[in-house]
Amino acid sequence: MEILQYGFMQRALMAGILISITCGVIGTYVVVRRMVFISGGISHSAFGGIGLGYLVGIDPVLGAMLFAIGSALGIGAISRRTRLPEDTAIGILWAVGMALGIIFIGLSPGFAPDLFGYLFGNILSVSFSDLIVMVALTALILVVVTLLFKELMSLSFDEEFAKVSGVPTGRLYFILVVLIALSVVVLIRAVGIILLIALLTIPAAISRQFVSSLKKMMLLSILLSIVFVVLGLWLSYVLDLASGATIILFSGVMFLASLGLSRWRRRRLSSTAS
């Protein structure tokens, strides 16, 4: 375990734990409320912010945060307040955000260092200041979810009934999409804009097959995500492959395995029942 002596490895593991907490908690809502496509739109449009960061010389992650929150609110507003279908709005913002990013990067002087890392992630290049941002955002996400846990559950389970019970579902929906935007920011450095959607959904999609409460689903997703990130990282080190892509591929394989496992489990349950 001599690789753990390196500072970049320690930071990568720390980042891995933080993104796992975020993925477990927010990924659970993304999966049970079927917001995968929205999350994809938010993360891709954040590329516009990365480009803006290069152009004006601020931290691209900060730019990404602005764009992610902006597009989250935009998608929310379009789907709630206009009659344009939500997936249309997402598709448009998705591509427009990416196009803006390309134009901004083209306009910025010199070349864009580490651009590949923002797209596909490089958990080994996570800096100390990145970690501070990730800690702050993860803490914020946890506080908001803890405070609004029962409201978010009812919004996800049956929105119409939530509204009838007096839950301000409109505002709550905006809070939820902003939480997704913040998770995107937490995940960017580690797995990149294009791949992060997989880490947001796979652990939660696996957990849902095996647990029966939202809290347990979150906890199991966090654990699974930690396992995927650590083992994926180790595999990428051993096989000398890109870290972000290896983590995602490993998660994907585990997802397939979980489908087999849950099928076997169901068959066994039904055969013992009969």
Partner: protein
């Protein structure tokens, strides 16, 4: 009516005055006037697509009428719905949703619990009572999607009851209930009507004839006279077909004689 005086003094829980609902210029509801009182058990019948569900959603404040006035428990529907229990026609929830029966029933208390607060002992007691009322206490830990349609429906009734409502709105509640449970279900409503006003939207005419106290018929317009009798003319007007087709198998005490 023997308790006419009591009834006169009964509190009006819902009042609709000349309510119109239009979608894209097409009228779904036309000039609806309706009063529901605190002791009413009202059965609402009418053809499919006639606006029964829309009418309930207007009372709940989920659909804003194009014109007219809606009053629920003396205020706007948005204010009043904290005291309204609602059992929707289809609960479009995901069968794999990780929530237990207990979680689902407690969600009915969200109008009572303060924001950012945990469910109190009182909330939990109300949930226990509601589950007991629908005889689903043994299932409190089961995942909601694993129950049968009839059992889920009982849980959704418990979720509507847990806020101790003054008005219970049920939209085709027997759609997913198997026949043997039907009678039990109506007996449950019969017990509940002592505690709250009930509006039951249904196409089950025989149930209407046995259990409810008053009958209304909706097809864009509302035909309702705060009695259990609907004239054949009203029914024909509402269903736009000869009365024999509708009344087939319905005990004739619902229908007043032609005169």
């Amino acid at each position: 009516m023997s308790n006419g005086e009591v009834n006169m003094a009964a509190e009006e829980v819902v009042s609709l005055e000349d309510v119109w609902v239009r979608f894209d210029g097409v009228a779904i509801l036309e000039g609806i006037n309706l009063s529901v009182y605190q002791n009413d058990f009202l059965g609402m019948i009418g053809p499919n697509g006639g606006g029964k569900t829309t009418l309930l959603k207007v009372i709940l404040g989920l659909i804003r009428p194009s014109q007219g006035k809606v009053t629920v428990l003396g205020g706007t529907p948005e204010r009043g719905r904290r005291f309204v229990g609602y059992v929707p026609q289809y609960s479009l929830f995901d069968r794999d949703f990780p929530a237990s029966v207990w979680d689902v029933v407690l969600m009915g208390r969200l109008g009572q619990v303060g924001r950012f607060k945990r469910y109190s002992e009182e909330d939990k007691k109300a949930a226990l009572n509601a589950l007991e009322t629908v005889e689903m206490l043994d299932f409190e830990d089961s995942q909601i999607g694993r129950l049968s349609g009839g059992q889920q429906q009982r849980v959704f009734i418990a979720r509507a009851l847990v806020s101790e409502p003054k008005l219970l709105l049920l939209d085709e509640p027997t759609a997913s209930v198997d026949a043997p449970m039907m009678e039990e279900f109506y007996e449950l409503l019969n017990r509940l009507k002592k505690r709250m006003a009930i509006v039951l939207v249904t196409h089950d005419l025989s149930a209407v004839s046995i259990y409810v106290d008053t009958v209304g018929c909706v097809n864009r317009k509302l035909f309702y006279h705060h009695s259990k009798e609907i004239s054949a003319e009203d029914l024909e007007a509402a269903y736009q077909c000869p009365i024999e087709l509708i009344a087939h198998g319905v005990p004739h005490r619902v229908l007043s004689d032609h005169d």
